[in-house]
Assembly symmetry: C2
Homo-oligomer: 284 residues x 2
Amino acid sequence: MADDAQPHPTLAQLWDARFGEPPPAGLPETVPPALARILSRRTMRRLKPDPVPDGLLSLLLACAQSAPAKSDLQQYSILVVKDPARRAVIAGWLPAQPWVTEAPVFLVFLGDMRRARRMGELRGRPNANDNVDSFMNAAVDAALAMETFLLASEAAGLGCCCISMIRNRIDDAAALLGLPDGVFPIAGFCLGWPAAEGRVSMRLPPAAVVHVDRYDDSRLPELVEAYDRRRHARAPVAPASQRHADRYGVADYCPWSENAARQLSIPERAGFRDFLQRHGIALA
Amino acid sequence: MADDAQPHPTLAQLWDARFGEPPPAGLPETVPPALARILSRRTMRRLKPDPVPDGLLSLLLACAQSAPAKSDLQQYSILVVKDPARRAVIAGWLPAQPWVTEAPVFLVFLGDMRRARRMGELRGRPNANDNVDSFMNAAVDAALAMETFLLASEAAGLGCCCISMIRNRIDDAAALLGLPDGVFPIAGFCLGWPAAEGRVSMRLPPAAVVHVDRYDDSRLPELVEAYDRRRHARAPVAPASQRHADRYGVADYCPWSENAARQLSIPERAGFRDFLQRHGIALA
């Protein structure tokens, strides 16, 4: 359905929007609609208040459960926050993200190491995997389900926005949502019908992300320099979005790499490890 | 293209294959083709030797880069292993997974904390985020890209199989693929044209995975008991797939929860934390 509703951009248009460059030689001339939809996908923060029918939401959640899962253990859960009082509390934590209030549907995707542990308890087997590997498996399972939910939603014409900022209030979130030991959020998630066009986020050039045979980032400085300039020319980082301006100031030219370097220069969520350990995730 | 090639199963058929149950009331009667494709998706281990054109692969990799990324930091890389000698070494590590040899394309999806750190070095900013939060962000970014690559590939008619077992040889893999500090694999990935139908993996019932307002798994034992029986009736765990049969024996009835409990009772990849710490990922 959404396939038909989409315009049919050319490969050159798709590549330009995603990478700010012409496509390399040798690509297929016609792009299948499902791939064109992914190539032109965008985060949607402005959503209409119109409801998402419960039946459609159930279908999208079933799509999420169709994602692959490490060893078939399915180590994730999905929380649908319907209660207006809980929604208001979460929105209150994120005043800079009004779309958390406005989205008709708000979800939280959770890594879940608890369920499989309970299987062990029910069957009298010890849990010998309270380790980083198992933690990563649960986080990855949750991400695979979240991305499948996102792409299914977009295929149905909906718009999505992931909210990792919910982890800035992780203790409060765990209390509000009743998260037991072994369960941790990877992100909140806004879902609704798009109220605006949104904007395709320009990505690093494939040469900076895709490696052949051996990891090789020897050309990274020049690739990022050119990417910074392309991105800045199309969509400069607004003063309000420049990270830690109180420390580093507002710059006329604050490209992607500068903003990334600023962000990583100040600890974010340094208490996450402590949270996990207090919540039954030892990271051994 | 692939949309048209698919048969059009009914919602009842889709739900039965995925959950072994009839769908709940209130779901849309017609399922959009893109969602039907996701609901009936399956891991494809048997792949034809026919090549995947380079241009199509580039298009799919561009789709992967269209996934959302935490704070736009794009903390992942994708490695395409083309060199037959390297492919053979990897296949040699995984003799029980012959599809690693047979797949015409083999990739490794990598969490990448190095790239953003290099941005900091280039711009003279410290890295203050060598912590678990940042590690999880990189793992999640890699998983979002991998799942987008997977769903785009399946939409183009290809088959996929994720290979997390590559992490069982993580030191060897890091050496073979030249992974520098800050870069770690989340999974290998086989891609090719399907040589068999594959089988839809039956999932836990939505009631066991989806929670409303508060995490609540009070009904888990009964839900899993019923799920175990449905799965066993349709596709029992074969003796060769029963985990740690040397310790626990081969059972006539070894349902999902028993196999999960067995798997978690023996440490897997307990050296992952040590690997990460030796590779510049402190997990503070």
